[in-house]
Protein backbone atom coordinates (compact mmCIF):
# COMPACT_ATOMS: atom_id res chain seq x y z
CA UNK A 1 0.00 0.00 0.00
CA UNK A 2 1.82 3.11 -1.26
CA UNK A 3 0.28 5.78 0.95
CA UNK A 4 1.57 8.81 2.82
CA UNK A 5 0.21 7.98 6.26
CA UNK A 6 1.35 7.18 9.77
CA UNK A 7 -0.87 4.75 11.66
CA UNK A 8 -3.46 3.18 9.31
CA UNK A 9 -5.87 2.94 12.26
CA UNK A 10 -5.60 6.64 12.91
CA UNK A 11 -5.92 8.27 9.50
CA UNK A 12 -9.18 10.06 10.21
CA UNK A 13 -8.01 11.82 13.35
CA UNK A 14 -4.68 12.78 11.83
CA UNK A 15 -6.35 14.05 8.68
CA UNK A 16 -8.66 16.21 10.78
CA UNK A 17 -5.69 17.54 12.68
CA UNK A 18 -4.03 18.63 9.45
CA UNK A 19 -7.23 20.07 8.05
CA UNK A 20 -7.83 22.22 11.06
CA UNK A 21 -4.23 23.45 11.01
CA UNK A 22 -4.57 24.28 7.33
CA UNK A 23 -7.84 26.18 7.61
CA UNK A 24 -7.62 28.19 10.83
CA UNK A 25 -9.64 31.06 9.36
CA UNK A 26 -12.45 28.76 8.27
CA UNK A 27 -12.73 25.71 10.51
CA UNK A 28 -12.88 25.17 14.24
CA UNK A 29 -12.87 22.20 16.52
CA UNK A 30 -15.73 21.53 18.92
CA UNK A 31 -15.99 19.63 22.19
CA UNK A 32 -16.46 16.46 20.20
CA UNK A 33 -13.18 15.77 18.42
CA UNK A 34 -15.05 14.20 15.52
CA UNK A 35 -17.32 17.19 14.99
CA UNK A 36 -15.88 20.21 13.19
CA UNK A 37 -17.66 23.43 12.46
CA UNK A 38 -17.47 26.62 10.46
CA UNK A 39 -15.43 29.02 12.54
CA UNK A 40 -18.31 31.47 12.86
CA UNK A 41 -21.08 28.92 13.49
CA UNK A 42 -23.70 29.18 14.86
CA UNK A 43 -24.53 32.24 12.82
CA UNK A 44 -27.21 34.40 14.40
CA UNK A 45 -30.59 34.09 12.75
CA UNK A 46 -29.40 31.56 10.17
CA UNK A 47 -30.60 27.99 9.79
CA UNK A 48 -27.70 25.65 10.55
CA UNK A 49 -26.59 23.28 7.80
CA UNK A 50 -25.24 19.96 9.03
CA UNK A 51 -24.01 16.92 7.23
CA UNK A 52 -21.81 13.97 7.97
CA UNK A 53 -20.84 10.54 6.84
CA UNK A 54 -17.98 8.12 6.57
CA UNK A 55 -14.54 9.47 5.72
CA UNK A 56 -12.53 8.80 2.58
CA UNK A 57 -14.47 11.11 0.26
CA UNK A 58 -12.37 14.28 0.49
CA UNK A 59 -13.27 17.11 -0.08
CA UNK A 60 -16.57 15.69 1.19
CA UNK A 61 -17.67 16.18 3.87
CA UNK A 62 -15.52 18.61 5.86
CA UNK A 63 -14.29 20.37 2.73
CA UNK A 64 -17.74 21.87 2.28
CA UNK A 65 -17.75 23.61 5.63
CA UNK A 66 -17.54 27.32 5.01
CA UNK A 67 -19.17 30.62 4.28
CA UNK A 68 -22.65 30.14 2.81
CA UNK A 69 -22.08 26.41 2.86
CA UNK A 70 -22.14 23.78 5.62
CA UNK A 71 -21.94 24.81 9.29
CA UNK A 72 -20.97 21.56 10.98
CA UNK A 73 -19.95 18.04 10.02
CA UNK A 74 -19.96 14.73 11.87
CA UNK A 75 -16.87 12.79 10.80
CA UNK A 76 -17.08 9.00 10.69
CA UNK A 77 -14.40 6.38 10.25
CA UNK A 78 -13.43 5.48 6.69
CA UNK A 79 -16.66 4.53 4.88
CA UNK A 80 -18.60 4.33 8.17
CA UNK A 81 -21.40 6.56 9.29
CA UNK A 82 -20.63 8.64 12.37
CA UNK A 83 -22.52 7.52 15.46
CA UNK A 84 -25.69 9.29 16.55
CA UNK A 85 -23.84 11.18 19.28
CA UNK A 86 -21.70 12.95 16.67
CA UNK A 87 -24.64 14.01 14.56
CA UNK A 88 -26.31 15.24 17.71
CA UNK A 89 -23.24 17.24 18.72
CA UNK A 90 -23.05 18.69 15.22
CA UNK A 91 -26.67 19.82 15.49
CA UNK A 92 -25.86 21.57 18.74
CA UNK A 93 -22.94 23.62 17.40
CA UNK A 94 -24.82 24.57 14.22
CA UNK A 95 -28.07 25.69 15.80
CA UNK A 96 -28.58 29.40 16.32
CA UNK A 97 -32.13 28.79 17.50
CA UNK A 98 -33.51 28.88 13.97
CA UNK A 99 -33.26 25.14 13.52
CA UNK A 100 -30.96 22.76 11.70
CA UNK A 101 -31.16 21.16 8.27
CA UNK A 102 -29.38 17.82 8.31
CA UNK A 103 -28.60 16.95 4.70
CA UNK A 104 -26.99 13.57 4.22
CA UNK A 105 -26.75 10.53 1.98
CA UNK A 106 -28.97 7.48 1.90
CA UNK A 107 -26.99 4.74 3.63
CA UNK A 108 -28.22 2.28 6.23
CA UNK A 109 -25.84 3.49 8.90
CA UNK A 110 -26.42 7.18 8.33
CA UNK A 111 -30.17 6.69 8.33
CA UNK A 112 -30.15 4.90 11.66
CA UNK A 113 -27.67 7.24 13.32
CA UNK A 114 -29.31 10.44 12.11
CA UNK A 115 -32.71 9.18 13.18
CA UNK A 116 -31.43 8.56 16.69
CA UNK A 117 -29.62 11.91 16.77
CA UNK A 118 -32.74 13.79 15.71
CA UNK A 119 -34.59 12.19 18.60
CA UNK A 120 -31.85 13.24 21.01
CA UNK A 121 -31.97 16.81 19.65
CA UNK A 122 -35.73 16.95 19.92
CA UNK A 123 -35.52 16.08 23.59
CA UNK A 124 -33.19 19.07 23.87
CA UNK A 125 -35.55 21.43 22.09
CA UNK A 126 -33.42 21.68 18.94
CA UNK A 127 -35.50 21.49 15.79
CA UNK A 128 -33.85 19.33 13.14
CA UNK A 129 -35.28 18.44 9.76
CA UNK A 130 -33.61 16.15 7.29
CA UNK A 131 -33.20 15.62 3.57
CA UNK A 132 -31.76 12.31 2.42
CA UNK A 133 -29.88 12.46 -0.88
CA UNK A 134 -30.72 9.60 -3.21
CA UNK A 135 -29.32 10.79 -6.53
CA UNK A 136 -27.49 7.64 -7.59
CA UNK A 137 -29.63 6.24 -10.40
CA UNK A 138 -28.03 2.79 -10.83
CA UNK A 139 -28.39 1.92 -7.16
CA UNK A 140 -32.10 1.16 -7.40
CA UNK A 141 -34.87 1.17 -10.01
CA UNK A 142 -37.20 4.12 -10.46
CA UNK A 143 -40.00 2.39 -8.57
CA UNK A 144 -37.88 2.16 -5.44
CA UNK A 145 -36.10 5.47 -5.53
CA UNK A 146 -36.05 5.66 -1.77
CA UNK A 147 -33.42 2.90 -1.82
CA UNK A 148 -31.02 4.84 -4.02
CA UNK A 149 -27.71 5.90 -2.57
CA UNK A 150 -26.68 9.52 -2.20
CA UNK A 151 -23.53 10.40 -4.12
CA UNK A 152 -21.99 13.57 -5.57
CA UNK A 153 -25.40 15.21 -5.90
CA UNK A 154 -25.02 15.92 -2.20
CA UNK A 155 -22.53 18.65 -3.07
CA UNK A 156 -25.14 20.52 -5.08
CA UNK A 157 -27.69 19.97 -2.32
CA UNK A 158 -25.33 21.56 0.22
CA UNK A 159 -24.58 24.42 -2.16
CA UNK A 160 -28.27 25.17 -2.66
CA UNK A 161 -29.24 24.82 0.99
CA UNK A 162 -26.17 26.73 2.18
CA UNK A 163 -27.07 29.63 -0.08
CA UNK A 164 -30.73 29.51 0.88
CA UNK A 165 -29.90 29.59 4.57
CA UNK A 166 -27.45 32.45 4.02
CA UNK A 167 -30.20 34.41 2.29
CA UNK A 168 -32.16 34.25 5.53
CA UNK A 169 -34.69 31.55 4.74
CA UNK A 170 -36.45 29.67 7.51
CA UNK A 171 -35.94 25.96 8.21
CA UNK A 172 -38.87 24.80 6.12
CA UNK A 173 -37.73 26.86 3.15
CA UNK A 174 -34.19 25.57 3.44
CA UNK A 175 -35.45 21.99 3.67
CA UNK A 176 -37.75 22.54 0.69
CA UNK A 177 -34.88 23.94 -1.39
CA UNK A 178 -32.59 21.06 -0.46
CA UNK A 179 -35.30 18.54 -1.24
CA UNK A 180 -35.97 20.20 -4.56
CA UNK A 181 -32.26 20.18 -5.31
CA UNK A 182 -32.12 16.43 -4.77
CA UNK A 183 -35.40 15.77 -6.55
CA UNK A 184 -33.93 17.54 -9.57
CA UNK A 185 -30.60 15.75 -9.45
CA UNK A 186 -29.39 12.45 -10.88
CA UNK A 187 -25.97 10.84 -10.75
CA UNK A 188 -24.10 7.75 -11.74
CA UNK A 189 -20.56 6.41 -11.37
CA UNK A 190 -18.10 4.33 -13.35
CA UNK A 191 -15.20 2.57 -11.62
CA UNK A 192 -11.88 1.82 -13.31
CA UNK A 193 -9.85 0.66 -10.34
CA UNK A 194 -10.58 -0.37 -6.75
CA UNK A 195 -9.76 1.60 -3.62
CA UNK A 196 -7.80 0.59 -0.56
CA UNK A 197 -8.95 1.29 2.99
CA UNK A 198 -5.69 2.06 4.84
CA UNK A 199 -6.48 -0.24 7.74
CA UNK A 200 -7.40 -3.10 5.41
CA UNK A 201 -4.20 -2.56 3.44
CA UNK A 202 -5.21 -4.18 0.16
CA UNK A 203 -7.77 -3.27 -2.50
CA UNK A 204 -11.37 -3.77 -1.46
CA UNK A 205 -12.31 -5.55 -4.65
CA UNK A 206 -11.00 -6.13 -8.15
CA UNK A 207 -11.60 -4.49 -11.50
CA UNK A 208 -9.89 -6.39 -14.28
CA UNK A 209 -7.59 -4.40 -16.58
CA UNK A 210 -9.57 -3.58 -19.69
CA UNK A 211 -12.95 -3.58 -17.91
CA UNK A 212 -14.99 -1.09 -15.92
CA UNK A 213 -17.70 -1.27 -13.27
CA UNK A 214 -20.82 0.52 -14.49
CA UNK A 215 -22.85 2.11 -11.71
CA UNK A 216 -20.24 1.68 -9.02
CA UNK A 217 -20.98 3.13 -5.60
CA UNK A 218 -18.97 5.68 -3.71
CA UNK A 219 -17.44 2.99 -1.58
CA UNK A 220 -16.76 0.60 -4.40
CA UNK A 221 -20.12 -1.14 -4.12
CA UNK A 222 -20.59 -3.16 -7.32
CA UNK A 223 -22.86 -1.55 -9.86
CA UNK A 224 -25.12 -2.64 -12.68
CA UNK A 225 -22.60 -4.62 -14.66
CA UNK A 226 -19.00 -5.06 -15.66
CA UNK A 227 -18.26 -4.13 -19.28
CA UNK A 228 -15.15 -3.73 -21.35
CA UNK A 229 -13.38 -0.44 -20.72
CA UNK A 230 -14.94 2.09 -23.04
CA UNK A 231 -13.62 5.29 -24.56
CA UNK A 232 -14.42 8.61 -22.92
CA UNK A 233 -17.02 9.31 -25.58
CA UNK A 234 -18.71 5.97 -25.04
CA UNK A 235 -18.66 6.51 -21.29
CA UNK A 236 -20.27 9.94 -21.76
CA UNK A 237 -22.97 8.37 -23.87
CA UNK A 238 -23.57 5.58 -21.39
CA UNK A 239 -23.76 7.87 -18.38
CA UNK A 240 -26.04 10.45 -19.94
CA UNK A 241 -28.11 7.60 -21.33
CA UNK A 242 -28.79 6.37 -17.82
CA UNK A 243 -29.17 9.75 -16.14
CA UNK A 244 -31.17 11.84 -18.58
CA UNK A 245 -34.25 9.63 -19.00
CA UNK A 246 -34.63 9.32 -15.27
CA UNK A 247 -36.12 12.74 -14.49
CA UNK A 248 -36.68 13.20 -17.51
CA UNK A 249 -34.58 16.09 -18.69
CA UNK A 250 -35.85 17.73 -21.85
CA UNK A 251 -35.14 20.19 -24.62
CA UNK A 252 -34.80 23.72 -23.25
CA UNK A 253 -33.68 22.66 -19.79
CA UNK A 254 -30.85 24.42 -18.07
CA UNK A 255 -28.68 22.24 -15.88
CA UNK A 256 -25.78 22.25 -13.50
CA UNK A 257 -23.29 19.49 -14.31
CA UNK A 258 -20.92 18.09 -11.76
CA UNK A 259 -18.28 15.72 -13.06
CA UNK A 260 -16.16 14.37 -10.25
CA UNK A 261 -13.10 12.16 -10.28
CA UNK A 262 -13.15 9.32 -7.76
CA UNK A 263 -9.63 9.82 -6.49
CA UNK A 264 -6.91 8.89 -8.93
CA UNK A 265 -8.51 9.97 -12.17
CA UNK A 266 -6.74 13.00 -13.57
CA UNK A 267 -8.32 16.35 -14.44
CA UNK A 268 -7.15 15.72 -17.99
CA UNK A 269 -9.47 12.72 -18.20
CA UNK A 270 -12.33 14.64 -16.61
CA UNK A 271 -12.10 17.42 -19.18
CA UNK A 272 -11.90 14.94 -22.05
CA UNK A 273 -15.05 13.31 -20.72
CA UNK A 274 -16.75 16.63 -20.04
CA UNK A 275 -16.24 17.66 -23.63
CA UNK A 276 -18.46 14.83 -24.86
CA UNK A 277 -21.01 15.14 -22.04
CA UNK A 278 -21.38 18.76 -23.11
CA UNK A 279 -21.82 17.77 -26.75
CA UNK A 280 -24.54 15.27 -25.87
CA UNK A 281 -26.42 17.78 -23.74
CA UNK A 282 -26.24 20.47 -26.44
CA UNK A 283 -27.48 17.95 -28.97
CA UNK A 284 -30.53 17.32 -26.79
CA UNK A 285 -31.18 21.03 -26.42
CA UNK A 286 -30.08 21.04 -22.78
CA UNK A 287 -27.80 23.93 -21.88
CA UNK A 288 -25.17 23.85 -19.18
CA UNK A 289 -25.81 26.77 -16.88
CA UNK A 290 -22.81 25.92 -14.74
CA UNK A 291 -20.33 23.05 -14.87
CA UNK A 292 -18.25 21.76 -11.98
CA UNK A 293 -15.39 19.58 -13.17
CA UNK A 294 -12.91 18.33 -10.58
CA UNK A 295 -12.55 16.16 -7.54
CA UNK A 296 -15.66 16.97 -5.54
CA UNK A 297 -16.57 13.63 -4.00
CA UNK A 298 -13.99 10.87 -4.10
CA UNK A 299 -13.62 7.27 -2.96
CA UNK A 300 -10.14 7.10 -1.48
CA UNK A 301 -7.78 6.34 -4.37
CA UNK A 302 -10.32 4.81 -6.75
CA UNK A 303 -10.01 5.53 -10.47
CA UNK A 304 -13.26 6.49 -12.12
CA UNK A 305 -15.83 9.24 -12.36
CA UNK A 306 -19.30 10.24 -11.29
CA UNK A 307 -21.53 12.40 -13.40
CA UNK A 308 -24.24 14.44 -11.71
CA UNK A 309 -26.84 16.53 -13.51
CA UNK A 310 -29.27 18.91 -11.81
CA UNK A 311 -32.20 20.49 -13.52
CA UNK A 312 -32.41 24.16 -12.62
CA UNK A 313 -35.23 26.59 -12.07
CA UNK A 314 -34.96 30.23 -11.04
CA UNK A 315 -34.72 29.46 -7.35
CA UNK A 316 -32.01 26.83 -7.80
CA UNK A 317 -30.08 29.12 -10.14
CA UNK A 318 -30.11 31.89 -7.59
CA UNK A 319 -28.74 29.50 -4.97
CA UNK A 320 -26.15 27.98 -7.29
CA UNK A 321 -24.91 31.44 -8.27
CA UNK A 322 -24.56 32.59 -4.67
CA UNK A 323 -21.06 33.29 -3.48
CA UNK A 324 -19.55 30.50 -1.42
CA UNK A 325 -16.25 29.92 0.25
CA UNK A 326 -15.20 26.44 1.30
CA UNK A 327 -12.15 24.35 0.51
CA UNK A 328 -14.09 22.07 -1.83
CA UNK A 329 -16.26 24.72 -3.47
CA UNK A 330 -15.12 28.28 -3.72
CA UNK A 331 -17.15 30.44 -6.00
CA UNK A 332 -17.44 34.14 -6.65
CA UNK A 333 -20.94 35.53 -7.07
CA UNK A 334 -21.82 35.35 -10.76
CA UNK A 335 -21.04 38.60 -12.51
CA UNK A 336 -24.01 39.96 -14.36
CA UNK A 337 -23.26 40.19 -18.04
Amino acid sequence: MQKVINDPQNVVDEMLEGYIKAMPDMIARTNNKRVVKYKYAPIADKVGIVTGGGSGHKPAFIGYIGRNMVDAVAVGEIFSSPPAQMFYDAFKVADSGKGVACLYGNYAGDNMNVKMAVKMAKADGIEVKTVVANDDVPSSPRNSMDKRRGVAGEVLMWKVAGAKAAMGAGLDEVIAAAQKAINNTRSMGIGLSPCTIPEVGHPNFKIKEGTMEVGIGHHGEPGLEVTKLETANEIAKRMTGIILPDIPFKNGDEVAVLLSGLGSTTLMELYILYSEVYNILIEKGISVYIPYVGNYFTSLNMAGVTLTIMKLDEELKECIDYESDSMGLRQFARRKK
Binding site: Q9, G54, G76, E77, I78, F79, S80, S81, P82, P83, A84, Q85, M86, Y107, A108, G109, M112, N113, M116, P138, S139, S140, P141, K147, R149, I197, E199, V200, N204, F205, G215, G217, H219, G220, E221, P222, G223, L224, E225
Partner: protein, 214 residues
Amino acid sequence: MKQEFLNSEGSRIIYDLIKVIHDNKQYLSDIDGAIGDGDHGINMNKGFSICEQKLKSDPGDLTHSLEILSEVLMKDIGGSMGPLYGMFFAAVADACRGKRIIDSKVFGKMLADGKESIVEIGSAKVGDKTLLDTLAPAVEAFNNSVENGNNFIQSVEDMNKAAIKGRDSTKNMIAKLGRASRLGKRSIGVIDAGAASCCLILESMADTIEKILE
Protein backbone atom coordinates in the same frame (compact mmCIF):
# COMPACT_ATOMS: atom_id res chain seq x y z
CA MET B 1 -22.67 -30.17 34.20
CA LYS B 2 -24.20 -26.89 35.36
CA GLN B 3 -27.52 -25.54 34.09
CA GLU B 4 -26.80 -21.95 34.98
CA PHE B 5 -23.97 -19.52 35.58
CA LEU B 6 -23.46 -16.41 37.62
CA ASN B 7 -23.87 -13.01 36.04
CA SER B 8 -20.64 -12.13 37.83
CA GLU B 9 -18.68 -14.82 35.98
CA GLY B 10 -20.34 -14.05 32.64
CA SER B 11 -18.09 -11.15 31.61
CA ARG B 12 -15.79 -13.84 30.22
CA ILE B 13 -18.27 -14.13 27.36
CA ILE B 14 -17.47 -10.56 26.34
CA TYR B 15 -13.70 -10.99 26.67
CA ASP B 16 -13.80 -14.02 24.39
CA LEU B 17 -15.99 -12.12 21.95
CA ILE B 18 -13.47 -9.32 21.75
CA LYS B 19 -10.75 -11.79 20.87
CA VAL B 20 -12.82 -13.50 18.19
CA ILE B 21 -13.65 -10.22 16.49
CA HIS B 22 -10.04 -9.17 16.65
CA ASP B 23 -8.89 -12.41 15.04
CA ASN B 24 -11.45 -12.09 12.26
CA LYS B 25 -10.98 -8.43 11.40
CA GLN B 26 -9.49 -9.05 7.95
CA TYR B 27 -11.88 -11.88 7.16
CA LEU B 28 -14.93 -9.74 7.85
CA SER B 29 -13.61 -6.77 5.90
CA ASP B 30 -12.79 -8.94 2.93
CA ILE B 31 -16.30 -10.44 2.84
CA ASP B 32 -17.77 -6.95 3.08
CA GLY B 33 -15.46 -5.83 0.26
CA ALA B 34 -16.99 -8.33 -2.16
CA ILE B 35 -20.42 -6.72 -2.32
CA GLY B 36 -20.24 -3.98 0.32
CA ASP B 37 -17.66 -1.36 1.20
CA GLY B 38 -15.04 -3.42 3.00
CA ASP B 39 -15.15 -1.77 6.39
CA HIS B 40 -17.09 -4.30 8.43
CA GLY B 41 -14.17 -6.04 10.14
CA ILE B 42 -12.22 -2.94 10.97
CA ASN B 43 -15.24 -1.19 12.43
CA MET B 44 -16.27 -4.13 14.53
CA ASN B 45 -12.74 -4.53 15.75
CA LYS B 46 -12.42 -0.83 16.55
CA GLY B 47 -15.53 -0.99 18.70
CA PHE B 48 -14.65 -4.18 20.47
CA SER B 49 -11.10 -2.95 21.13
CA ILE B 50 -12.32 0.26 22.71
CA CYS B 51 -14.65 -1.85 24.85
CA GLU B 52 -11.70 -3.99 25.94
CA GLN B 53 -9.85 -0.84 27.08
CA LYS B 54 -12.85 0.40 29.01
CA LEU B 55 -13.44 -2.92 30.72
CA LYS B 56 -9.83 -2.90 31.88
CA SER B 57 -10.39 0.16 34.03
CA ASP B 58 -14.03 -0.57 34.74
CA PRO B 59 -14.67 -4.33 34.93
CA GLY B 60 -17.91 -5.89 36.08
CA ASP B 61 -20.43 -8.62 35.57
CA LEU B 62 -22.02 -9.77 32.32
CA THR B 63 -24.73 -7.12 32.36
CA HIS B 64 -22.18 -4.40 32.97
CA SER B 65 -19.90 -5.68 30.22
CA LEU B 66 -22.77 -5.84 27.76
CA GLU B 67 -23.72 -2.28 28.65
CA ILE B 68 -20.21 -0.99 28.07
CA LEU B 69 -20.03 -2.82 24.75
CA SER B 70 -23.37 -1.40 23.68
CA GLU B 71 -22.40 2.09 24.69
CA VAL B 72 -19.10 2.00 22.84
CA LEU B 73 -20.73 0.68 19.67
CA MET B 74 -23.41 3.34 19.72
CA LYS B 75 -21.33 6.33 20.86
CA ASP B 76 -17.93 5.70 19.32
CA ILE B 77 -18.36 3.44 16.34
CA GLY B 78 -21.28 4.40 14.22
CA GLY B 79 -21.58 2.75 10.82
CA SER B 80 -24.47 0.34 10.56
CA MET B 81 -22.96 -1.79 13.27
CA GLY B 82 -23.08 0.93 15.88
CA PRO B 83 -26.83 1.14 16.04
CA LEU B 84 -27.55 -2.48 15.08
CA TYR B 85 -25.22 -4.30 17.46
CA GLY B 86 -25.40 -1.37 19.87
CA MET B 87 -29.14 -1.81 20.25
CA PHE B 88 -28.75 -5.57 20.23
CA PHE B 89 -26.34 -5.64 23.16
CA ALA B 90 -28.35 -2.99 24.99
CA ALA B 91 -31.44 -5.19 24.83
CA VAL B 92 -29.42 -8.25 25.76
CA ALA B 93 -28.08 -6.36 28.78
CA ASP B 94 -31.54 -5.14 29.75
CA ALA B 95 -32.81 -8.72 29.81
CA CYS B 96 -30.24 -9.84 32.36
CA ARG B 97 -30.07 -6.70 34.44
CA GLY B 98 -30.58 -7.52 38.12
CA LYS B 99 -30.37 -11.26 37.52
CA ARG B 100 -27.76 -12.89 39.74
CA ILE B 101 -28.10 -16.16 37.87
CA ILE B 102 -28.33 -16.75 34.13
CA ASP B 103 -30.10 -19.93 33.16
CA SER B 104 -31.33 -21.01 29.76
CA LYS B 105 -34.63 -19.22 30.21
CA VAL B 106 -32.97 -15.91 30.97
CA PHE B 107 -30.50 -16.40 28.13
CA GLY B 108 -33.35 -17.22 25.76
CA LYS B 109 -35.04 -13.96 26.68
CA MET B 110 -31.76 -12.06 26.22
CA LEU B 111 -31.42 -13.43 22.69
CA ALA B 112 -35.05 -12.82 21.78
CA ASP B 113 -35.02 -9.24 23.04
CA GLY B 114 -31.76 -8.60 21.20
CA LYS B 115 -33.25 -9.89 18.00
CA GLU B 116 -36.38 -7.78 18.44
CA SER B 117 -34.39 -4.61 18.88
CA ILE B 118 -32.47 -5.24 15.65
CA VAL B 119 -35.67 -5.76 13.74
CA GLU B 120 -37.02 -2.62 15.29
CA ILE B 121 -34.18 -0.37 14.24
CA GLY B 122 -33.30 -1.98 10.92
CA SER B 123 -36.65 -3.39 9.79
CA ALA B 124 -34.95 -6.28 8.05
CA LYS B 125 -36.79 -9.52 7.35
CA VAL B 126 -35.37 -13.01 7.13
CA GLY B 127 -34.26 -13.49 3.53
CA ASP B 128 -33.02 -9.93 3.05
CA LYS B 129 -29.42 -11.13 3.24
CA THR B 130 -28.48 -9.44 6.51
CA LEU B 131 -27.27 -10.47 9.92
CA LEU B 132 -30.89 -11.29 10.74
CA ASP B 133 -30.57 -14.41 8.59
CA THR B 134 -28.13 -15.70 11.17
CA LEU B 135 -29.71 -14.25 14.26
CA ALA B 136 -33.39 -15.07 13.78
CA PRO B 137 -33.09 -18.84 13.17
CA ALA B 138 -30.42 -19.14 15.85
CA VAL B 139 -32.58 -17.47 18.47
CA GLU B 140 -35.54 -19.59 17.44
CA ALA B 141 -33.47 -22.78 17.58
CA PHE B 142 -32.24 -21.97 21.06
CA ASN B 143 -35.65 -21.25 22.47
CA ASN B 144 -37.21 -24.28 20.75
CA SER B 145 -34.48 -26.46 22.15
CA VAL B 146 -35.09 -25.13 25.67
CA GLU B 147 -38.82 -25.60 25.23
CA ASN B 148 -38.23 -29.18 24.11
CA GLY B 149 -36.55 -29.83 27.46
CA ASN B 150 -32.96 -29.88 26.31
CA ASN B 151 -30.30 -28.72 28.70
CA PHE B 152 -28.46 -25.40 28.41
CA ILE B 153 -25.45 -26.86 26.62
CA GLN B 154 -27.58 -28.75 24.14
CA SER B 155 -29.56 -25.62 23.49
CA VAL B 156 -26.53 -23.44 22.75
CA GLU B 157 -25.28 -26.19 20.45
CA ASP B 158 -28.58 -26.13 18.60
CA MET B 159 -28.33 -22.34 18.40
CA ASN B 160 -24.85 -22.70 17.00
CA LYS B 161 -25.88 -25.08 14.27
CA ALA B 162 -28.76 -22.84 13.26
CA ALA B 163 -26.50 -19.80 13.22
CA ILE B 164 -24.04 -21.47 10.85
CA LYS B 165 -26.86 -22.69 8.65
CA GLY B 166 -28.39 -19.22 8.67
CA ARG B 167 -25.12 -17.56 7.80
CA ASP B 168 -24.52 -19.97 4.92
CA SER B 169 -28.06 -19.46 3.66
CA THR B 170 -27.15 -15.85 2.81
CA LYS B 171 -24.73 -17.08 0.21
CA ASN B 172 -27.40 -17.84 -2.33
CA MET B 173 -29.66 -14.97 -1.43
CA ILE B 174 -30.30 -11.87 -3.47
CA ALA B 175 -29.69 -8.90 -1.21
CA LYS B 176 -32.83 -6.91 -0.54
CA LEU B 177 -31.56 -4.40 1.99
CA GLY B 178 -28.50 -2.20 2.33
CA ARG B 179 -25.64 -1.58 0.01
CA ALA B 180 -25.90 -4.78 -1.96
CA SER B 181 -29.58 -4.53 -2.74
CA ARG B 182 -29.32 -3.21 -6.30
CA LEU B 183 -26.83 -5.88 -7.25
CA GLY B 184 -29.61 -8.29 -8.11
CA LYS B 185 -28.15 -11.61 -9.12
CA ARG B 186 -24.63 -10.26 -8.74
CA SER B 187 -25.10 -10.41 -4.97
CA ILE B 188 -25.48 -14.17 -5.17
CA GLY B 189 -22.49 -16.32 -4.27
CA VAL B 190 -21.13 -14.31 -1.36
CA ILE B 191 -21.98 -14.61 2.31
CA ASP B 192 -23.30 -11.44 3.91
CA ALA B 193 -20.74 -9.73 6.11
CA GLY B 194 -23.15 -9.02 8.96
CA ALA B 195 -24.42 -12.59 8.85
CA ALA B 196 -20.82 -13.75 9.20
CA SER B 197 -20.03 -11.48 12.14
CA CYS B 198 -23.29 -12.40 13.85
CA CYS B 199 -22.42 -16.06 13.48
CA LEU B 200 -18.98 -15.45 15.00
CA ILE B 201 -20.63 -13.66 17.91
CA LEU B 202 -23.13 -16.44 18.59
CA GLU B 203 -20.54 -19.19 18.15
CA SER B 204 -18.21 -17.46 20.54
CA MET B 205 -20.99 -16.98 23.10
CA ALA B 206 -21.97 -20.63 22.79
CA ASP B 207 -18.39 -21.70 23.20
CA THR B 208 -17.76 -19.66 26.32
CA ILE B 209 -21.05 -20.66 27.91
CA GLU B 210 -20.25 -24.32 27.33
CA LYS B 211 -16.89 -23.86 28.98
CA ILE B 212 -18.45 -22.12 31.96
CA LEU B 213 -21.10 -24.79 32.34
CA GLU B 214 -18.77 -27.75 31.99
